[in-house]
C-alpha cells in the first residue's frame, strides 16, 4: 500500500507545479502552447497521488509490488522526457527559421545595396520623410 504521507506529498507537489505553471501563463511569461504539456504532467501526477487505489492498481499491472509510489516517479520521469523532447523539436524549428531569416536578411540587404546604387540618393541615403517631399 501507498503510505498516506507519500500521497500527501505527491498532491502538494503536483498542485504546486500546476500553480506555478498557471501563474507563469497568467503573467504571459509562458505561452499556452508550451504550458499544455506541463499542465498535463501536473494533472496526471495529481490524480495518481490523490487516487490511492488507482496508483496501487497500476503498480500491480506494472509489476511494482513493494512500493507503489515508485510508479509516481516513473510517470513523472516519462512526462519530463516528453517535455524535453518537445523542447528539442521546438528548438530545431527555431534554428531552421533563424537561418532562413538570416539568409533573407543577407539577400535583401544585397538587393537594397543594388537598388540604391542604381538610383543614388533615392534609398537609404535620404531619410524617408525627405523622400516623400521630393515626390
Amino acid at each position: 500500500m501507498t503510505p498516506l504521507r507519500a500521497s500527501l506529498v505527491g498532491v502538494v507537489a503536483s498542485l504546486l507545479l500546476l500553480l506555478i505553471v498557471l501563474e507563469l501563463v497568467r503573467g504571459r511569461r509562458l505561452k499556452e502552447r508550451y504550458a499544455l504539456l506541463w499542465i498535463a504532467t501536473g494533472l496526471v501526477l495529481l490524480v495518481l497521488s490523490a487516487w490511492r487505489g488507482g496508483l496501487n492498481t497500476i503498480a500491480g499491472w506494472a509489476g511494482v509490488q513493494t512500493y507503489p509510489p515508485a510508479v509516481l516517479f516513473a510517470v513523472a520521469t516519462l512526462f519530463i522526457l516528453l517535455v524535453l523532447l518537445h523542447f528539442s523539436t521546438v528548438l530545431s524549428k527555431l534554428t531552421d527559421e533563424n537561418v532562413e531569416l538570416a539568409q533573407r536578411v543577407a539577400l535583401l540587404e544585397e538587393r537594397v545595396r543594388w537598388l540604391s546604387a542604381e538610383s543614388p540618393g533615392s534609398l537609404l541615403d535620404s531619410p524617408p520623410a525627405e523622400r516623400v517631399r521630393q515626390e
Binding site: 534554428t95 531552421d96 533563424n98 537561418v99 538570416a102 539568409q103 536578411v105 543577407a106 539577400l107 540587404e109 544585397e110
Partner: protein, 242 residues
C-alpha cells in the same frame, strides 16, 4: 545559342587574407562568371575586400555555418535566374583554373551536379592522413550504396550545378557539414551526377573547420543524417530539363 549565365558561390569566413585573390582567379578562369561571396559573419574585412574586387557580397547577420551560408548563395542564384552555378571555398583550396572543366558536363547538359573529386579512378596526388582517407572512403561507399550510384568523393566542396541542382539546394540543403548529405539528397532526387578529377591545394590561411574533437561529432552527425535521409522520400526532379 543563348549563353548561360553563371554564378560562382564562394562561402567565406574570415578569409581577408586570400579572398581577393580567390575572386580574381575565378574571373581569370572565366570572365562570364559573376562571383558571389557569402560572408558568414566574418570579423575581419572579408566582405569589404571581396566587394572592392567587384564581387557581389551576401553578408549574413550572424554565423549560420557552412551549409546555411552556401544555401544563401543557391537562393541568390535561384532568385536572380542563373543557369549554372559553381561552388568553391573562399580559402583558396579549390583551384579556380579547374572551373571550366568542372562546368563542362553541366554546360553540355549531361549532368545536373558535377563533383570535383580528388579520387576519380585513383588518380590525383591528394593523399590525406590515413584516418581522414578512411572517413572519406566510408562516406563515399555509404552514399554510393544509399544513392544507387558510385560516388568517389562526397566530402568535396568543389561542385558545379545546373538549374535543377540550384533549385533543389536552394530549397533543401543540410545546414552543418552539408557536402555528404547534400550529395545523397541530390542522388535520391534523381539528379544526374558527373565527377571530374580535381587537385586541391593546401590551405593558404585559416584553419580547417574540422578539428580533431569535431571530427567525432562530424562522423556521427553525418552518419545519422545519411541514415535518416535514406528513410525520407524525395520527389524525383526532372534532370536535364533546361
Amino acid at each position: 545559342m543563348r549563353r548561360d549565365r553563371i554564378v560562382a558561390i564562394v562561402p567565406a569566413l574570415n578569409e581577408a587574407g586570400v579572398i581577393g585573390r580567390v575572386v580574381d582567379e575565378i574571373r581569370e578562369a572565366d570572365a562570364r562568371i559573376e562571383v558571389v561571396v557569402v560572408d558568414d559573419a566574418s570579423t575581419d574585412d572579408t566582405a569589404g575586400i571581396a566587394r572592392a574586387r567587384g564581387a557581389t557580397v551576401l553578408q549574413l547577420p550572424f554565423n549560420v555555418g557552412i551549409g546555411g551560408a552556401v544555401q544563401t548563395g543557391f537562393k541568390y542564384a535561384l532568385e536572380q535566374g542563373y543557369d549554372l552555378a559553381v561552388r568553391l571555398d573562399g580559402d583558396g583550396q579549390h583551384d579556380a583554373r579547374e572551373i571550366p572543366r568542372l562546368l563542362e558536363p553541366v554546360e553540355r547538359g549531361e549532368a545536373d551536379l558535377v563533383i570535383g573529386s580528388r579520387f576519380v579512378e585513383g588518380k590525383g596526388s591528394y593523399r590525406p592522413p590515413f584516418a581522414r582517407r578512411m572517413g572519406i572512403r566510408v562516406f563515399a561507399r555509404l552514399v554510393s550504396v544509399l544513392g544507387g550510384q558510385r560516388v568517389t568523393d562526397t566530402t568535396s566542396g568543389f561542385v558545379a550545378l545546373d538549374r535543377v541542382g540550384i533549385e533543389l539546394f536552394a530549397r533543401d540543403y543540410p545546414h552543418d557539414y552539408p557536402e555528404v548529405e547534400g550529395t545523397l539528397v541530390a542522388l535520391r532526387s534523381g539528379l544526374r551526377l558527373a565527377q571530374v578529377q580535381v587537385e586541391m591545394r593546401v590551405r593558404e590561411s585559416g584553419a580547417s573547420s574540422i578539428t580533431f574533437v569535431r571530427s567525432v561529432y562530424y562522423i556521427v552527425k553525418v552518419l545519422l543524417a545519411l541514415l535518416v535521409s535514406s528513410l525520407r522520400r524525395y520527389p524525383r526532379l526532372e534532370g536535364g530539363s533546361r
